[in-house]
């Protein structure tokens, strides 16, 4: 068995990212889509931390700190948008929100 190294962490990160991507494609509930976006951001965080550890650099971890902060702001704004949308249209389901479709 190979020693656990950078590749193992990157593999977990890539698989988690692909799970989130699949969720964004396949799920139809806005809130669940949002959670899958969080999964993708977390996968990127894991890749940053792994690279930071194995390259002996702390800059990657500072980047993760920034990503976490931006993600928190993004969740707050996005959920406020969903609530405002729900007030107008009484749905959080993407198939009911197609008025901008050509």
């Amino acid at each position: 068995m190979i020693k656990v190294g950078l590749e193992h962490y990157l593999t977990v990160s890539a698989l988690l990212f692909c799970l989130g991507l699949f969720g964004v494609i396949a799920r139809r509930n806005l809130l669940v889509i949002y959670m899958c976006l969080e999964l993708m951001l977390n996968a990127a965080n894991l890749a940053f931390v792994a690279f930071s550890r194995f390259n002996n650099e702390l800059n990657g971890q500072v980047m993760v700190f920034f990503i976490v902060t931006v993600a928190a702001a993004e969740v707050a704004v996005g959920l406020a948008l969903i609530v405002a949308l729900y007030r107008k249209r009484q749905t959080a389901h993407v198939e009911d929100l197609t008025s901008m479709k050509l």
Binding site: V4, A76, A80
Partner: protein, 170 residues
């Protein structure tokens, strides 16, 4: 296999299982279940961060994600009363096509990009430790301006959320 490697496989397995249950849970289509499994995913990711010696980020991960973000999610789920959504059917064709496309992307990234090039081979042994003091030093010296811009971003987000959640949105 050392204890650290055992812990790696343990946390990696948990992360991927819980992540898959966020995306597709065969027993429940309720968003609350997804949110709960997202908490577990984030906690096991924090375990991976600890294994990578990023102790401060592991704590931040638990506090900000498992604390603040998930509470926000649950709050909105309760507020919107999403129960009616559970009855909808998943469109099978779209889901299968999406799964094939994503599996192809995963194979390209994992098989070709990561294990094809092996970016970790030949690196020196890792010594860096993401303790709070070291991270704070670099954050408030090298990254002071981005840090301040980030605080402005949080202010903008707060004002935007208050504006968006007003009853009569113009």
């Amino acid at each position: 296999m050392s204890a650290g490697e055992g812990f790696f496989y343990f946390f990696a397995f948990l992360t991927l299982i819980f992540g898959a249950l966020v995306v597709y849970n065969p027993f429940s289509r309720n968003p609350v279940t997804s949110a709960m499994f997202l908490v577990l995913t984030i906690l096991s990711l924090a375990g991976l961060f600890v294994l990578l010696n990023a102790f401060f980020l592991a704590a931040i991960q638990v506090l900000v994600y498992a604390g603040a973000v998930i509470v926000l999610f649950l709050f909105v789920i309760m507020l919107l009363d999403i129960k009616a959504e559970e009855r909808r059917k998943i469109r099978v064709v779209g889901a299968v096509a999406g799964f094939v496309a994503v599996a192809a992307i995963a194979w390209m990234i994992v098989g070709r990009l990561i294990w094809g090039t092996r970016p970790g081979s030949g690196l020196p042994a890792p010594t860096v430790i993401g303790s709070t003091s070291e991270l704070g030093t670099i954050l408030f010296q090298k990254f002071l301006l981005p840090f301040e811009i980030l605080s402005l971003l949080l202010l903008v987000a707060m004002v935007g959320v208050i504006l968006l959640s007003k009853k009569d949105l113009k």
